[in-house]
């Protein structure tokens, strides 16, 4: 049960086989998705018809490549926009929440902490629906009483951003709080003692210390927003983010262009992962 304790060969061998199979199970779908992006066939399935870049660069039907596929490219753009908004918002509120919970005592703090965790416990579909219901109530109320049709309260990008922001903020808060907890308060006092104002202390000492956590939270937030499906599905309007566009395409029956876009997503994630590892190194 430990590498230092001798074991029978058969036991060893079967344990390692199990681990091997586990990782095959873990990686197989990803490898399959990636490799069929280069299959020169109209369907992402065997037989292998030879290697091609068509699913990225070809500009004519039926083998319309990713870079010429208007709806998918548009989806990437929308997702990128949404992810940027969600990341910015959730880092801002996450940082503020982290200070609130780590630095201040107030009544019902315990209860507030449970509330803070709530968005992680509620299934994404329900979170999306509840926001849909509420914004609809608001929009109808305004329309009935004042007669204005508030377009932004109808399903669309604003609601998508708000829906994702609702639960991603909790994650950002947890990540940033964890680092703030480790902060040595005497650093702030030292800076204050050396003549810095409260604001300068925050700007020159506390925030630089939190920066790796804020960047880390940002990477996670961006990724979760980009990949989110459940909450988005309920709130989406006419502008479809990438996951929704892909889902629609998947229901129609897919061509390897979906593999191409998946590969693109994986590379993007890998890049983000790399950034976050570099950030970890920095601290």
């Amino acid at each position: 049960m430990l590498p230092t304790i001798p074991r029978s060969n058969r036991y060893n061998w079967s344990y390692q086989l199990y681990i091997f199979l586990f990782f095959v199970y873990l990686i197989a779908p990803l490898v399959v998705v990636a490799s069929f992006a280069f299959n020169d066939s109209l369907f992402p399935s065997l037989p292998w018809k030879g290697f091609t870049w068509d699913w990225f660069i070809n500009d004519t039907q039926p083998k319309l490549g990713l870079f010429h596929d208007r709806s998918l490219m548009n989806g990437i753009g929308v997702s990128f926009f949404v992810a940027c908004c969600v990341t910015g918002l959730s880092i801002a509120i996450g940082t503020s929440n982290a200070f609130l919970f780590e630095r201040y005592e107030f009544r019902f703090k315990q209860f507030a902490y449970i509330l803070l965790l709530l968005p992680l416990v509620i299934p994404g579909v329900i979170l999306g629906i509840s926001i849909l219901v509420f914004s609809n109530t608001l929009a109808n109320g305004v329309e009935d009483h004042i007669g204005w049709d508030l377009e932004f309260l109808r399903p669309g990008l604003l609601l998508v951003v708000l829906g994702q922001f609702a639960f991603i903020t909790t994650i950002a808060t947890l990540v940033i709080s964890a680092r703030l907890k480790k902060f040595d308060r005497s650093l702030e006092e030292a800076a204050y003692n050396l003549g810095a104002s409260r604001f300068e202390v925050l700007r020159t000492i506390t925030l630089p210390y939190l920066r790796p956590a804020m960047l880390g939270a940002g990477v996670v937030a961006f990724l979760m927003s980009f990949e989110n499906f459940n909450t988005t599905l309920m709130l989406v309007g006419s502008d479809a983010p990438l996951t929704i566009a892909m889902y629609d395409r998947l229901k129609e029956g897919s061509t390897p262009v979906l593999n191409a876009v998946s590969l693109f997503l994986m590379l993007g994630s890998a890049l983000l992962a790399l950034i976050s590892i570099l950030v970890q190194k920095e601290k």
């Binding site: 304790i5 779908p29 609130l100 416990v121």
Partner: protein, 288 residues
């Protein structure tokens, strides 16, 4: 810092927190609750009643779906635990240094890829014209194409796949904190593999097991994509039913009631799990 300044900053920090939670989480759920307890009696006239909840209990298809969803989620949680434990143990206790961190990162890999992409991968592998079916035909093991999609086993496999990360990570971290010398002492005192596992390793990793299970259960119960794509139309997953009520049938009242039923089932089972294991929600959820 004087106290009025402290109060001011407290209010400044408290207001975004309250706005965020209030407007995006709490009030929407309250609103949804009111929606769930009203009944359309005539066009644009409503009454407060429990009719939507009554409909759920009188229509077997609905509560069957919920029961099935809950049961499959519990099963998926247990299976995930059984599959993940040896792997987590291997990573935490059998490996050292670089290999260890590489394998651990490999476990996190699926998290970095969208659930949609992962599920798409399984569809390519498992469908009638998919990789596995073609390979088996090519090998001569089967005569015609086989459809592996759209059955419960496949849905279960997909759910386990999606949940794996949330089980492996807490397990590895608690197992990591188990001192090797405890296992060695167990051996030294004449324990067998099984007894050491039962009396030393599992009791120690209980917090990790509980938090992994709870997170996996909640995620599985609320999952939408995997059961719908891998299970198809007949998958009978409760979130699918909610989607149908809201988007396809446009019966929001019933859909809202369904949302609450799902939340109730989810929190009851989680609460039971926490009670039985003596842990708190904060300690489990915050960890993952």
């Amino acid at each position: 810092m004087n106290s009025s300044q402290t109060r001011l900053t407290l209010i400044l920090l408290l207001s975004p927190f309250l706005l965020w939670l209030g407007l995006l989480v709490i009030i929407p759920h309250i609103d949804m609750f009111f929606l769930s307890i009203r009944e359309k009696v005539a066009p644009r006239t409503y009454e407060t009643s429990l009719a939507n909840y009554a409909e759920f209990f009188t229509e077997p298809f609905y509560w069957n779906t919920l029961a099935r969803t809950a049961f499959m989620s519990i099963l998926a949680t247990v299976l995930t635990l059984i599959i993940a434990f040896p792997v987590a143990y291997y990573i935490a206790k059998m490996l050292r240094g670089k290999t260890k961190s590489i394998l651990f990162l490999l476990c996190l890999l699926p998290f970095w890829v969208s659930e949609l992409v992962r599920t798409f991968g399984w569809m390519i592998l498992l469908r009638e014209t998919g990789v596995i079916s073609s390979s088996l035909q090519w090998l001569g093991l089967i005569d015609g194409p086989i459809e592996f999609l759209y059955n419960d086993v496949t849905v279960m496999m997909g759910l386990i796949y999606t949940s794996m990360l949330f089980m492996v990570v807490p397990l590895v971290s608690t197992l990591d904190s188990l001192d090797d010398s405890l296992i060695e002492a167990g051996y030294d005192l004449g324990g067998s593999k099984l007894s050491i596992l039962k009396e030393i390793v599992i009791p120690h990793s209980m917090p990790g097991i509980i938090s992994g299970c709870i997170v996996v259960f909640m995620l599985t119960l609320g999952n939408y994509l995997t059961p719908i794509l891998l299970g198809g139309k007949s998958s009978m997953w409760f979130t699918g039913q909610i989607y149908t009520q809201f988007i396809t049938r446009f019966n929001w009242e019933l859909g809202a009631a369904f949302c609450f039923l799902l939340l109730i089932v989810s929190s009851t089972i989680v609460w039971l799990g926490l009670k039985l294991s003596g842990q708190t929600l904060a300690s489990t959820v915050a960890k993952s």
